[in-house]
Amino acid sequence: MSTVIFRTIAPYLSALMLVFSVFVLLRGHNEPGGGFIAGLIAAASLAIYAIAAGVVEVRKALRLHPLALAGFGVFLAGLSGILSAFVKAPFLTGLWVTFTLPDGTELALSTPLMFDIGVYFTVFGVLSTVALALEEDDEGSV
């Protein structure tokens, strides 16, 4: 599987896919996309990198265990729901804050966005965990 071409291109490809996954995540509320799909793309990018460079490299680059990312995701999603308690709204009520940037564009931050980022991290983390754990044994005793 690891041809020279693949090994050379894989880092760029997975970097591109990671950036793309963030793009898909952020556009999700209005265009096709969202946390789930973005998480899948990010996990696929890691899988590609792992096939090309080996699991050890991926883990080194990640620094955290991917399951920790998944845990962080669920935590973030839960937290976004609790925030509504501060305005005495029911759990998971969407809250919106809109800023106007210096160049005139509007930036809308919201708890649904935070929630979606949580979904992104969960999907990304769990699938990477599974993929990396399965690939690890592929390489024999590392």
């Binding site: 096709p32 969202g34 799909i37 399951l67 729901g81 929630f115 699938l127 965990t129």
Partner: protein, 807 residues
Amino acid sequence: MQSVTDFSFLLVALAPFFAAPLAPWITRFAGHHAGWVLAIVPASIFVTLIGFIEPISLGGRARIGLPWIPGDALNTNIEFSFYLDGLSLVFALLISGIGTFIIAYSGGYLKGHPHQGRFFAFMLAFMGSMMGLVLADSIVTLFVFWELTSITSFLLIGFDHHRQAARRGAIQALIITGGGGLALLAGLVILAFENQTWSVAEMLTRAGTMQESPHYLAMLLLVLAGAFTKSAQVPFHFWLPNAMEAPTPVSAYLHSATMVKAGVYLLLRMNPVLGDTVQWQTILPAFGGLTLLTGAILALRQTDMKQMLAYTTVGTLGMLVMLIGVGSEAAIAAAILVLVAHAFYKGALFLIAGTIDRETGTYDITQVSGLFARMPVSGIAAILAAISMAGIPVSLGYFAKEEVYSLLADPGWREVPVVIVALVGNALMLVVGLAIAMKVFFGAQTQTPKAPHEGPLSMISGSLILGVASFGAGFVIHDFGRLFVVPSVTAVRDLLAGNHLETWHFAPLLLALSVVTWALGALAFWFLDDIRTQLRRLAGIWSWGPDHGFDQAMFGLIRSAGWITRMLHHGRLEIYFVLIFVALALVTLGPLLAQGLPPMPGIPYLTFYEWGIMVIALMGLFAVVVGRTRLVAIVSLGVQGFAVAVIFILFGAPDLGFTQFMVETLTVVILTLVMTRLRLEHRDTRIFEDVVRDGALAIIAGAGVTVLLFAVLRNPLDTRLSEFFTETSVALAHGHNIVNVILVDYRALDTLGEITVVMTAGIAILALIRLRAGGQRTGAGLAKRAPAPKKRAGRAIRTPAPGSAGA
């Protein structure tokens, strides 16, 4: 009814819970002196409660309720409420007063134990639960605290969790008292609905109405199941001696003075509501009397001091239940006196037994004697407590015993047998008191595992004060009766009881009965060794009992669980899949065949590129079936999936198509990895019959899903929901992508649940993969820094070698 308006007793119930989390922290700084520090909590509760004694004895009551689940209907309006009257005051005083000594004692008893802080935390949590239980007004509050006492008791019995016997005792206590708690819950809920109130205080005001209810017997039996299991009545008595695996302060506090009395408290509390019927007056004395005799006889069989005390506790609990069953004013007064006297002398004796064990290293009564010279303070305390236990004038136990015998003043078909059983029981329990006070402290000094000397102040103060109290209370028995017995009887019988207790009095009949008790007891004490031998021989013949039955039941439960698991979870993936697809075929095709098949749609009008995609999907499927290696099959399945994704996009579901693409990609990657991981054969090695079976199953299940979809499409789609989402997604949720808005806003709670499941599944998969890989070789963290731990492990093996440590 006077009312005491004071909110401080709310704090009284909850203060131990506030102290419990601080206990480990205090212990870290103060060491075993933390016992003295933490004893301030029950001591201050006790002092606060003293302020209530006078108003309560004048007929006052206090009630405080906080809204818990507010509502209009009965089943939704639940309060967190507390109620204080004569009965709950006596219990609360016992819990906090004895608790003070127990906490201080634990400081000395567990000195140097690595988990002493945890022990204090459990003890305080238990104390809070017990306080809450006896002060609870709302039935829900009562039940919550009732279960909390079971749970904290479980933690305390199993405190030395490295010992198998301790774990067994803890589980047994939890299952029996917890199971009884469930019955109690059912009984209390029926009671609440019959009464149309959750408040015990309100139920007490309409005493006597429940007895005519058609559900009376059900309520009675369920409540009794709760009380009998908690208070260790036959045939549930066996958990209490096994609970003696707990550290001795726990035995003294939970399993003698307080928790086991919770069932007695409940029966006293429910006496006006459920009592005064033939059923009540038959069931309770019968079980109580049987328990009294069983406990007293089994106590004689033991040589372990804690076991002897445990069985006499069972006996006393039986006596209390018997007296409550009789239910007359005199019987209730006798029950209160027995209860308080027992808490004092049994608490003292348990603490002394613990001190003896700590000083000599044994609980065995045949191993120690002549300790008085070495441990004079404990000896005096033991003698005082034993005097009360034996009922010698003018100790508290004497009045308790006389009060029981005074039931004969109004002899009926209940009173006479009750007094006879009580007399025999008293005589046998007297033997145990004598054995501990006389055999242990007098006679020739024997060699013990450790050289004994007097225990530290923290350990002897509690037993001495309790011993003095159990003897000295007799001198102030008139005031004792006025302040504690009369208010309790008033609370239970709902009439102002009279106080006839006098220190110096003469009643020939009662004295004669006492003399008979003493004579019987002395006789039994004289022949104690012979009786014990005979009882043990009897036990050897008839070895099956509820304790053994409990083990068999638990063993059977585990066996049947194992059998069901092996049946369903045999580990053969093939069969799982066959089952899943057979079920799918049945679920989809079954109802459709019964109702008739939907009409087949005609060939749709499609453009050429749509046809092209269909052909690609079919080719993918064809390749799956004819593919020679598994890798080809997996990739071909991906081809089909991609074609479907394109169809989604063409028909206006970009989100779905998008997701399908990613899912297909990752499915192929992960399936390939799994295949290599499991080291499957590259080729499909199924025999022909299996291929036919699997193929047929696949076609049938596929046909089922297809026909189901046709059937669904035959009906017009209900578009109300999608219209609602289309209209409101921008206005309410500020988003144009409805799919995403539904996921993260409208149905966010569902998504939250789903991602939690996804994460849990991830953890499970990781665990399974690691398990299969055989331990930590492929551990995630290890891959990164594999060399370092190896070195460390090597050093760790070398260092403990003798000699190198000193170098």
